[in-house]
């Protein structure tokens, strides 16, 4: 998974926290997360055709998914990653 951000904005920090928490909870041990600041590494943003930040890209397993915007909405984050919604226990 790759998360593209621009600088240390409140939205970037929230996105990093939310994505990391969700992955730890649902995909523990089965995921990799790279966080890329497009200010610092513009070439990487270019390669992935990033149009806005923050953008989260699920590289695999297929199909590839992209999520742009607020990551603190858990249901939206789950849907965007193509993960099953919460299973009531």
């Amino acid at each position: 998974m790759r998360l593209y951000i621009t600088g240390m904005t409140p939205r970037s920090t929230r996105a990093i926290a939310a994505v990391r928490a969700l992955c730890e909870e649902r995909l523990k041990g089965r995921y990799g997360l790279e966080i890329i600041d497009v200010y610092q590494q513009p070439a990487l943003g270019q390669r992935e055709q990033i149009v806005a930040t923050p953008t989260l890209i699920k590289m695999g397993p297929a199909p590839q998914r992209r999520l742009i915007g607020d990551m603190s909405n858990r249901a939206r984050l789950l849907a965007g990653l193509g993960l099953a919604a919460e299973i009531p226990t």
Partner: protein, 542 residues
């Protein structure tokens, strides 16, 4: 589920994803957009939230900040900039930076704009009036491929005012020291005259001794007062030569340790010869200040130990007393100006706290250091000065030295003709008393005009030596008088000696140019007067 069904499902979810992402962009859930420009290069366009910290930083900083075109038109500025130039923001945007700065400095500004960087101090112009003092700093940035200039205005009016006040304080101290020197000179002369009288009354002898010592002490304080200002502002220039530190220390201590030995601490001096490249007068000042300090803070039954020697590559002077000591928290501050340890000490011990500052500056000027150590209250203090050593000069010519001295002694008994020009009646009277007591022939004048009139009288023979005060009343100062005397018939034969309260090097320079052979700073010791007289051979008068 068929393959077609799968494709449709995938297409549907992609559509949802695109729709959601567009919606996120529309509702401003993003920090930045990365859009390709005409070359295909993606550029980052930040929205408010990413930009805000920088904007807040620029808007809230205490400096005025502006972005200029290379020709000096303001394309952006912060609120502080508008406040400093005293115009509303909307009138500042688009204006030329030159319109807020003094016209005569336009060239400096244009050069800086062209060069792309620079810094200078000036005043802002508001309604044609020069106002706040500012520092202008210019640098270059490239915005959207276009070269721009950034300009920072820092308000330095309070700093500049503090510097001015500091300067006027230094000037005041110099004036004060100058004013104190004149009366001190007169008292010193008077005391010398008293000492020359054949006094037998023990009370009178003791009183004379007291006045002599105290005046010398005051003269030293006044010198320190003047020097500390110059040392701090870096105006002291050392006249360096190889000096045997041990000799210098012994000589200084013997001149300090006058008075009844039962009523002052004992001073134990242990020295080994060690040579430094130094200014003899300034080294004496270092020693004098440290030993006076030790004397001031040690009880009369105490002991002060002075050591001079070599430690490694350093010449070391160590002065240890058994005084009140220095509390640990004061140790680092003890050499700062106007700091004196223990504000509770008896003020009768006196001192302005300038002596140690002077010691440190003088040690540093010699490429050395000074350190204070103390085990605390009542345990005494030790001051250690370290200076770089130099090799001892080749054996000095002792014979020649003593011959010159005996010549000087012999000549000392010969009478000279002396002209004395000083507007201070008391000073004149005291110099006259001293000179006459030594058998010299003295004529005198209170100003330049009368001095010249005196010299032009036929019956007056030209003097061997003329002592001339620089600050004379009337249109003619001491420099001018010196030049006129040089132009009189036989005037070049006269040894001209300047007397002045100002000991500044630039004055010495000026007095040399005017033809003075020597420049003496008041108060002048009677011995110094005598030395000047010994420097000439009396004219043979027919």
């Amino acid at each position: 589920m068929t393959v077609d069904d799968l494709d449709i499902e995938e297409l549907r979810s992609r559509l949802v994803e695109a729709e959601n992402n567009l919606h996120a962009i529309y509702s401003g859930e993003i920090d930045a957009l990365l859009l390709a420009d005409e070359t295909g290069e993606r550029r980052i366009f930040t929205l408010r939230s990413a930009d805000a910290p920088y904007r807040a930083l620029v808007e809230r900083m205490q400096e005025g900040a502006a972005t200029l075109s290379v020709t000096g038109d303001i394309v952006y500025c912060n609120q502080r900039f508008a406040d400093l130039v005293g115009r509303p923001l909307e009138q500042v945007f688009g204006a030329a930076i030159g319109s807020f700065l003094p016209q005569p400095e336009g060239d400096i500004l244009r050069a800086m704009l062209e060069h792309g960087s620079g810094r200078y101090q000036t005043r802002l112009v508001r309604n044609g009036q020069e106002t706040t003092e500012v520092q202008v700093t210019l640098s270059s940035i490239v915005l959207d491929d276009v070269e721009h200039r950034t300009l920072i205005l820092s308000d330095i009016s309070s700093l500049a005012r503090a510097q001015r006040e500091n300067r006027s304080k230094d000037e005041f101290l110099a004036m004060l020291a100058h004013e104190l020197r004149n009366p001190l000179g007169a008292i010193q002369g008077a005391v010398h005259a008293l000492a020359l009288m054949n006094q037998t009354e023990p009370m009178a002898l003791r009183a004379t001794g007291i006045i002599k010592r105290q005046v010398l002490h005051m003269a030293r304080l006044v010198d320190d007062l003047l020097d500390v200002g110059r040392a701090v502002t870096g105006k002291i220039v050392l006249k360096r030569q190889p000096v045997n530190l041990a000799e210098s220390v012994r000589a200084t201590i013997s001149s300090l340790a006058s008075g009844n030995p039962n009523h002052r601490p004992q001073i134990e001096v242990m020295t080994e010869p060690v040579w430094v490249s130094g200014d003899a007068v300034r080294l004496e000042q270092i020693v004098g200040n440290l030993v006076s300090n030790a004397l001031k803070f040690t009880r009369s039954d105490g002991v002060i130990r002075v050591f001079v020697g070599r430690e490694g590559d350093d010449a070391v002077l160590r002065v240890a007393d058994q005084g009140i000591g220095i509390p640990p928290d004061m140790l680092p501050k003890i050499f700062d100006l106007f700091v004196q340890a223990h504000h509770t000490i008896d003020r009768s011990r006196g001192g302005l706290g300038i002596g140690l500052t002077l010691v440190r500056r003088l040690a540093e000027l010699h490429g050395g250091t000074v350190q204070a150590a103390s085990e605390g209250d009542g345990r005494g203090s030790t001051f250690t000065v370290r200076l770089p050593t130099v090799a001892a000069p080749r054996a000095e010519n002792g014979n020649g030295h003593s011959r010159a001295e005996s010549n000087a002694n012999r000549r000392a008994f010969e009478s000279r003709r002396v002209l004395l020009v000083d507007d201070n009646h008391d000073s004149r009277e005291m110099y006259r008393a001293v000179l006459r007591a030594h058998g010299h022939d003295v004529c005198e004048a209170p100003d330049g005009e009368r001095a010249l009139a005196l010299l032009q009288r036929v019956e007056v023979r030209p003097p061997d030596v003329a002592f001339i005060d620089i600050g004379l009343p009337g249109g003619m100062d001491g420099y001018e008088l010196a030049r006129r005397i040089r132009n009189l018939p036989g005037g070049r034969e006269v040894r001209l000696v300047a007397l002045t309260g100002y000991g500044f090097p630039e004055d010495r320079q000026q007095s040399r140019l005017a033809g003075f052979a020597k420049h003496l700073v008041k108060p002048v010791e009677p011995e110094a007067l005598q030395r000047e007289l010994n420097a000439v051979t009396p004219h043979v008068h027919h």
